[in-house]
Symmetry: C2
């Protein structure tokens, strides 16, 4: 056992066999270690530690099983061409974790410690960062409420944990447009709800709509606002952008949209390239109208998993439009290439987005 | 080990000491046994069993910790004056559990088995049903998603469990009106969301608003609809009723309101007594207007925990009204007395609501 930056590290004595890097998929394999930090009311967050990856044992009355007071984050570590390990804007994820915590009444986490924990854990499991093209090590920080109590109230005990999962390339045969269906019945989130927090309930509520569109041959749902069912909010669990008549637009943050780190990076890059990008309300009607007038040039989702996911077909209310001949648009492609090149260290990181792990 | 109705029963060898019945509170103590039923894709629900109350061990990647695919129920067992144990309309809770399952994409549970499990478990822990006035044995059935996988998709593994907690009298000094504040900023649920399902996310999202009104001296939040912020939906985690000019009204079920078993029982009783009860849209403005005109006679919440909770004060938008001089109204009192009398076997169960456990 050793201690680094106040984090005690207990290494495993029996390392697991690594999975085939060409068959990783997403979120199926987990590394040899995990990070744990406990919270007790009156004592605060305590005992940061890296331990062998192991099951969690909780009372059946632990609040996480009943009232869903929980938040999570998702980011990736990339193996660069010269063998370094890169994190992509991890501080943004940790800041968002604390914004989610505030909405869900979970005590704030020390951001310096959280970043340190992620860095140390990835270093301990550095041999798990895969090297095949497009692969990466997915990082899942999350907080669960663990008090054994059935009252509906904020928990007095929590666990902040980080687990790591080597994941495959999102696009096995290159970036590829998908079919998306606008959802008119089910709602992901509404103003005053928890849409801007990265919390379990938002994902649980999406499963039924997702299953329905999947059965009709669509890859993902496009969510509309819960109030007027007019304004576009997100696509699946990604933010969404449209290029109309040379300009790029994306739904403005309104309290029910998750503020994506990739979303922010896309906007920075577009501005850097001199392309106008505007955050505003966007109706689905406007998108169909722009398509009719030949002005809808590109549409794409942005998120940690896919980076950029072009939308080739959009269905709404019995109508279906094909965007850019269902080909990946120029801007979509350039964003995807630039972001992944920065992540894998193939292109100069002019924005200082990469956090390199010293080994 | 023995088997009853296909449920294997393994009894504990070390029974816990029972808590002081005058200090039970809510959801703090748990009995000696629990029920578990597993689900595996392809195999269905299997291995129904009653085992000693024990911690649950799950992988850190178990889906319940990340995406909140979970449902629960709440009901009570009452010790009647002649020593019988009564359940109150348990089949209604089990039917609702399956409606929640449908919304959350959790496989349906066999309702006969679920009721059998609850009955057998309560029988095994029959000595835990408390006898002090107003006390009861709270029954918490719940289902959690347990597949170790980080993809956003319905889980392939679940656990259906039932745990029991002896709980104290809700009103220590008799039924008592509370102060309630109408919530204008935060939203519990919206049409198209998960409001009509009994699922964790609805409760997690309520914590912030609840904490804010509590800091202003109010007991609970009155939730408005998420779309127009005009229509009354629920109070805290109860349904709500108003008596206006001799008639009783309650918000109509609209997809974002939980269909309470007590709500249904209140309506049945009112009809039985010849009091008109109408389910319809109710604006908070209408309630304040009725108060101004001297026509708002009573207001109360209904739920398993409190049965009936009279509203003495209602705050909205800087205004505060006092209802019925902040005293428990006649109808509220009669409903409370009748429901609790039926539950504890002090009054004839004309509706056949009670399920008596044979011992």
């Amino acid at each position: 056992m050793m201690t680094v930056n106040n984090i005690t590290i207990s290494k495993t004595t029996s390392k697991k066999e690594k999975p085939d890097q060409t068959q990783l998929g997403f979120g199926q394999y987990f590394t040899d270690h995990m990070f744990i930090l406990d919270y007790t009311e009156g004592k605060g967050w305590h005992d940061p530690r890296i331990v062998p990856y192991q099951p969690i044992t909780l009372e059946p009355s632990a609040m996480i099983f009943h009232y869903g007071q929980t938040v999570f984050e998702g980011m990736k570590a990339y193996l660069s061409e010269d063998g370094d390990i890169h994190l992509f804007r991890p501080e943004k994820n940790i800041q968002r974790l604390n914004r989610s915590n505030d909405r869900m009444r979970i005590p704030e986490v020390d951001e310096t410690l959280a970043l340190q924990a992620i860095k140390e854990l990835v270093k301990v499991d550095a041999d798990w960062v895969p090297s095949e093209p497009g692969t990466s090590l997915y990082i899942r920080p999350y907080i669960i409420s663990t008090e054994p109590f059935l009252g509906v109230a904020p928990s007095k005990h929590y666990k902040f944990m980080v687990i790591l999962s080597p994941v495959g390339a999102y696009y096995k045969e290159g970036i590829n447009p998908v079919k998306i269906a606008v959802e008119n019945e089910f709602v992901r989130a509404v103003k005053g709800g928890t849409g801007e927090a990265k919390t379990a309930g938002n994902y649980a509520s999406s499963l039924k709509a997702q299953a329905l569109v999947a059965s009709q041959g669509y890859a993902q749902v496009m969510w509309l606002d819960g109030i007027e069912k007019k304004y576009i909010e997100e696509v699946g669990s990604m933010n969404v952008f449209f290029k109309i008549d040379g300009e790029v637009v994306t739904p403005e943050l309104n309290g029910s949209i998750l503020e994506g780190v990739t979303r922010n990076s896309v906007m920075e890059l577009l501005k850097h390239w001199g392309i106008t990008v505007t955050e505003r309300k966007i109706t689905v009607e406007e998108i169909f109208e722009a398509h009719k007038n030949g002005k809808l040039e590109e549409a794409f989702g942005s998120g940690t998993a896919a980076v950029i996911s072009p939308i080739g077909t959009l269905a709404w209310d019995g109508k279906e439009i094909v965007i850019n001949d269902s080909k990946t648009g120029e801007v979509s492609k350039k964003l995807y290439d630039t972001l992944t090149n920065i992540q894998y260290g193939k292109e100069t990181d002019v924005f200082d987005w990469i956090v390199k792990l010293e080994r």
